[in-house]
Amino acid sequence: MSDTRNGPRVDMLRSPLGRVRGLGSAHRGAVTWWGHMLTSIALVPLSLWFVASMIRLAGASREDVALWLTHPLPLALMLLLLVATFHHMKHGLETVVEDYVHQPIGKFTLLLVIKGVSILLGLLCIISVLRLGL
C-alpha cells in the first residue's frame, strides 16, 4: 500500500479510531464541551440581567440588596446565574491549564485548585444569596 521505509517509524498498536475516541486535551471527549456550551447559552440572558440588576443596585444599602433578593424571581435567576457562572468558569480555567501547562505535577495541582476554588466560591455565593433572600 505504501512505502514506509523512509517515513517515520510507528511502533504503536493503536487504531486512528482509538486515538480519536474520548480524547482532546482533557481526555474526556465532548461531554465537557457540551456543558460549557450549555452554560454559555444560559449566561447570555443571565449576564445581561445581572448587569442591569447591578446598575439598579449601584450604591444600594444592605437592606436594598436583601429586599431585592426576597423576591422569588431575582433569587431564582441569581441562583441560576451563580451555578452557570462557576460551572463555566471552572471549565474555562481548566481548558486554559490543560492547553498551556505541560508539566504533569503542576498541571494536576492547578486543576485541583481550580476545582476546589470554583466549588468553594460558588458555595459561598449561593449560601449568601439564600441567606439574604430566604
Binding site: M1, S2, D3, T4, N6, G7, P8, R9, V10, D11, M12, R14, R19, L23, M37, S40, I41, L43, V44, S47, V51, M54, I55, R56, A58, G59, R62, V65, A66, T85, F86, M89, G92, L93, V96, L121, L124, C125, I127, S128, V129, R131, L132
Partner: protein
C-alpha cells in the same frame, strides 16, 4: 514514535507515504490580525472574569454577613481602584460576551468563511467597547 501526541503528527501524503506533519509556527511569527487578537482576548478576558468572581463573592458574602462588612466592600468598590476594577470587569464581560456569542454561532456551523470571520472579529471588538461605555454611562447617571 511511542505516544499519542507523536502519533498525531504522522499522516500519509498524497502518494500514500507516511510523513511527519509540519508543525505550525508559534504565536510571535504570525502577523497580528483582528481574528487572532479576538481569539487571544477571549481567553484573557475569561481568566479576568474568573478573577472578577472574587469581587462578586466578597460583595455577596459581605451583604449576608454584617452592616460593617457590607460598608467595607461598598467603600472599596466606590474607590478609584474599585471603580477601575469594575470597569475592567465590565469590559472583559462584554468582550467575552460577544466573542462567546460568536463561539456559539461557530458551534452551530456558522461564520467560518474568511469574510465572516474577519467581519465578526471587528464586530466583537466594537460591540464590546461600545456596550461597556453604554453600561457605564447609564450606570453613572443612575448612581
Amino acid at each position: 514514535m511511542k505516544d499519542v501526541r507523536d502519533a498525531l503528527y504522522v499522516a500519509r501524503n498524497t502518494d500514500g507515504k507516511l510523513v511527519r506533519r509540519p508543525m505550525s509556527p508559534h504565536l510571535q511569527i504570525w502577523r497580528w490580525t483582528p481574528a487572532m487578537a479576538v481569539s487571544i482576548m477571549h481567553r484573557v478576558t475569561g481568566v479576568g472574569l474568573a478573577l472578577g468572581t472574587l469581587l462578586m463573592t466578597w460583595w455577596l458574602v459581605a451583604a449576608a454577613t454584617s452592616d460593617r462588612a457590607f460598608a467595607n466592600v461598598q467603600w472599596f468598590l466606590g474607590s478609584v481602584i474599585g471603580m477601575f476594577m469594575l470597569f475592567c470587569w465590565t469590559l472583559s464581560l462584554m468582550l467575552h460576551f460577544f466573542s462567546g456569542l460568536r463561539h456559539i454561532a461557530w458551534d452551530a456551523g456558522w461564520g467560518f468563511e474568511n469574510r465572516a470571520y474577519r467581519g465578526t472579529s471587528w464586530f466583537v471588538i466594537g460591540a464590546g467597547i461600545v456596550s461597556t461605555l453604554v453600561i457605564w454611562i447609564v450606570g453613572l447617571i443612575v448612581w
